[in-house]
């Protein structure tokens, strides 16, 4: 009940971390736990490489999802888009097209779907949820048509090397995922486009009245997300040496979960790339660690849900309702 004016304490980074870092703490706790359980295995080079390899594609899709969620939208079709792009590239190469143009077309497919979503959401004012749900449905149908429901394989070695080759004993997709994450982080942080996206996500009307072209901004976020998820899908095809309509479909929910986990990492509760990568890491560490401990996969699934809840609750976040 003192009335002395205590000067407002500048929060230290560590204090901030402890207050907001519930999700990060959850990640560390998981790492410590699995390390304690299997010190001989968990943090070995091979296993860390394993984890990185396993999450690399998810990290790319989650990066794409982050962009859309930064502008306050939502894209349910990303995983489907990545399957379609991967399938299209596989199908074209099997049809005799050289690798480079096939990949180019695969990327264009992703970009076009992204632009389609962007037009529906930003220009026709459809809710992102319905629009991308509908796109997802159609895109999965297209992927089935492209693959005729089968798994396309026998892809050129040069192509498979993209997903399976190694540099310094680390698989290429890991480098590609890191590179994409760094680029997206820099785009969000340092470019005018990224700034505009954050502004639009913060308040559409304020952004518009500040001279930002809101529609174009949202369109661009969707387009970029479509393009990036095409990269993920093509990499996944190269990584598995095959393309199919359903390949990577679990990336849908996991990418969204990763972004949401990541939103709890920073105070303002916005989607952000570093947070998303923490979310991806939680998902990857959890699945690898539980596998290593030999936990039954049904139990794993139950535990996964509980850990997500624990992480988010720990972060004590007062998320605004979306």
């Amino acid at each position: 009940m003192t009335t002395t004016n205590v000067p407002v304490q500048p929060r230290t980074s560590i204090g901030k971390f402890l207050v907001q870092g519930g999700t990060t703490i959850a990640l560390l706790a998981l790492i410590v736990f699995f390390f304690a359980m299997r010190p001989d295995v968990f943090l070995t080079f091979t296993n860390v490489r394993n984890i990185l390899f396993q999450v690399s594609i998810l990290a790319i899709v989650a990066g794409a999802q982050t962009l859309v969620m930064v502008v306050g939208d939502f894209d349910l079709s990303l995983a489907a888009t990545s399957s379609l792009s991967g399938s299209a590239v596989a199908s074209l190469m099997l049809g005799g097209m050289p690798m480079a143009p096939a990949i180019l077309i695969g990327l264009v497919v992703g970009l076009l779907i992204g632009i389609g979503n962007g037009l529906l959401v930003a220009y026709l004012n459809l809710s992102a949820f319905v629009a991308t749900l509908a796109t997802m449905t159609s895109v999965i149908g297209l992927a089935y048509l492209v693959t005729q429901g089968t798994t396309l394989f026998n892809l050129p070695d040069g192509f498979n090397a993209l997903g399976q080759g190694r540099l310094l004993n680390v698989p290429l997709p890991v480098y590609i995922a890191i590179a994409i994450a760094v680029v997206l982080w820099a785009v969000l942080r340092f470019t005018t486009t990224g700034r505009k996206w954050y502004a639009i996500g913060g308040n559409v009307e304020v952004s518009r009245l500040s001279g930002i072209n809101v529609r174009r901004g949202r369109l661009m976020a969707f387009a970029a997300a479509g393009l990036i998820s095409a990269v993920a899908g093509i990499l996944l095809a190269a990584r598995l040496g095959s393309g199919s309509a359903v390949q990577g479909s679990d990336n849908l929910l996991f990418s969204v979960a990763a972004v949401f986990l990541g939103m709890t990492v920073i105070k303002s509760g916005q989607a952000n790339l570093v947070g998303t990568m923490v979310g991806v890491a939680i998902i990857g560490v959890m699945s690898n660690g539980l596998n290593i401990l030999g936990v039954n996969s049904y139990v794993q699934q139950v535990v996964t849900g509980l850990i997500i809840i624990a992480a988010v609750t720990l972060s004590g976040l007062k998320t605004r309702e979306r």
Binding site: M1, T3, V6, V8, T191, S210, G211, I212, N213
Partner: protein, 507 residues
């Protein structure tokens, strides 16, 4: 400063009191020893600068915030309110400052919201609900269709609906936090009539406002807060505006309005035959260095006019030219800004600033071109313009990285201004620039407007307060139903004449 003056002794026990209230937010001392004591049958003004703690006090009094210290007494007995419902049941009802309506449900339901909904066995009694809602609207002299979605109402009507809801609670203690901020004279009159009749029925009313004229017209006693503390409580009759202002700001009051300047004869903005939603055939010019005030009744199209000029709204006919450069037919905000027209919008929380973003980021928003090169944003340049803006406008904040949502209303408004001033606009449009801002900050904003004009900027400011319109402008245009119904040099204008224009009596 003295604390409380002895209260005139008419009733024994005050209806509602709060003593030594303390409330912190994250290290901010919103309240540090505040008092308030209201009697039955009085209208008690609660005054103070922006950020003095008035709204926080209101929320502590009604159970929204649990105080960190202090006592609340109802009819002399100590009470604690766990939430709004408990307070409401004790007869204490508030109309909160930011409280508005629920746009997606009907007017009638908005008025009879929550526990007021008449029901039997869990079923809503629709007929009773509508008739009671209508009673409240009738008291306020409002004819609003009961089945309409509240979101389709004009902002003024929405406020009246929110007010009807507060009335519907049959409060014994009614707390109103800036109820008139977005109303015009007609509604304010109706509101006052109701408040006076409630007073006659013995209701204790707390009235928070920045419009001091209203306070002296309506209220019986006043309490003044500063920095979370109660500085003074006394009878309105024993006080005067100068004392109130000096107690609020902690120093002697200067002149509210700075001296007028001299406008040049260079035309800075010319508008011809502008038609658009709510705007009909508007033609006028504004000069370099001029402060042009625009007045009118609510819904007369003033905001729409500014939005069209700023490129935020399309127009269907007419031309806009800055200097002698004509704008394209649908410029968009970005082009208008590039041409030198900047808008400080009406609703600062939903249109002016991103509440969750920092001061820097908000200021950078309208200046992305200036703070970036080759598509890359320079943090240094953002810091530069932020620093300049914050010091020019004397924004009070912990740091430039503080979220704007944590600032008081006046400081939020300064951030909006800083954001737009960094564009060095030739024409600055300001829609209700002092709405919800305390007198001290108001005076600062008037001085700022004048200083801008002195450097050659044209300022066009919409205001619903006629004294303000006269005090801050060089020249005044009045709008009526989308058209300009009158024009006057403010040196020659008086309120009566402007009011006549407002009601469409053309000169």
């Amino acid at each position: 400063m003295s604390t409380t003056s002895p209260a005139p002794t008419t009733t024994a026990v005050p209806a509602f009191e709060a003593h030594d209230i303390v409330k912190h937010f994250d290290g901010v001392h919103a309240l540090s020893g505040a008092h308030l004591s209201v009697r039955e049958g009085e209208i008690h003004a609660l005054l103070g600068e922006n950020g003095a703690g008035k709204s926080t006090m209101v929320k502590v009094l009604t159970g929204i915030y649990a105080p960190d210290g202090g006592r609340i007494l109802r009819n002399g007995e100590e009470v604690t309110f766990a939430n709004v419902r408990v307070a409401n049941r004790a007869g204490i009802v508030a109309l909160y400052q930011e409280l508005s309506i629920i746009p997606s449900i009907s007017v009638a339901e908005n008025i009879m919201l929550g526990e007021r909904t008449p029901s039997r066995g869990g079923l809503v009694q629709w007929a009773a609900l509508r008739s009671r809602a209508k009673e409240q609207l009738d008291r306020l002299n409002q004819k609003i269709p009961l089945k309409m979605l509240a979101g389709d109402l004009s902002p003024v009507q929405q406020t009246m609906v929110a007010f009807a809801r507060a009335l519907a609670n049959d409060a014994r203690v009614l707390i109103l936090d800036e109820p008139t901020a977005s109303l015009t004279d007609t509604e304010i009159k109706d509101l006052f009539t109701v408040l006076r009749s409630l007073r006659a029925q013995g209701v204790a009313i707390v009235y928070v406002s920045h419009r001091l004229e209203e306070v002296f017209e309506l209220c019986d006693r006043l309490t003044i807060m500063r920095n979370g503390e109660t500085m003074l409580t006394k009878d309105v009759a024993d006080s005067n505006i100068d004392e109130v202002i000096s107690t609020m700001v902690g120093r002697a009051a200067g002149d509210l309005y700075p001296d007028r300047g001299t406008a040049t004869s260079t035309v800075a903005l010319s508008v011809t035959g502008l038609d658009g939603r709510k705007v009909k055939d508007v033609t006028f010019t504004a000069h370099k260095g001029e402060v042009l005030g625009i007045g009118g009744l609510a819904g007369s199209g003033r905001s729409e006019l500014l939005r069209i000029l700023a490129g935020a709204q399309k127009h269907t006919a007419g031309t806009i030219a800055v200097g002698d450069v004509a704008l394209p037919s649908s410029p968009g905000v970005a082009r208008a800004l590039d041409a030198g027209i900047a808008l400080v919008p009406e609703e600062r929380r939903s249109q002016g600033v991103i509440l969750s973003a920092s001061i820097r980021d908000n200021i950078a928003l309208a200046n992305i071109g200036a703070v970036s090169s080759a598509g890359l944003v320079s943090g240094g340049r953002i810091s530069d313009i932020t620093k300049r803006g914050m010091s020019d406008l004397q924004v009070k904040a912990r740091s430039s990285r503080q979220p704007v949502g944590e600032l008081s209303g006046g400081n939020q408004q300064k951030v909006v201004l800083a954001k737009m001033l960094a564009r060095n606009p030739k024409v600055l449009l300001m829609d209700e620039p002092t709405r919800g801002i305390d007198v001290g900050t108001k005076a600062e904003i008037y001085r700022l407007i004048r200083a801008l004009a002195a450097t050659g900027t044209t300022v066009i400011a919409v205001s619903s307060e006629l004294p303000e319109l006269i005090g801050m402008s060089d020249r005044i245009l009045i709008m009526h139903e989308g058209q300009i119904s009158g024009e006057a040099m403010s040196a020659e204008a008086d309120e009566e004449m402007l009011l006549a224009y407002c009601y469409g009596k053309t000169a």
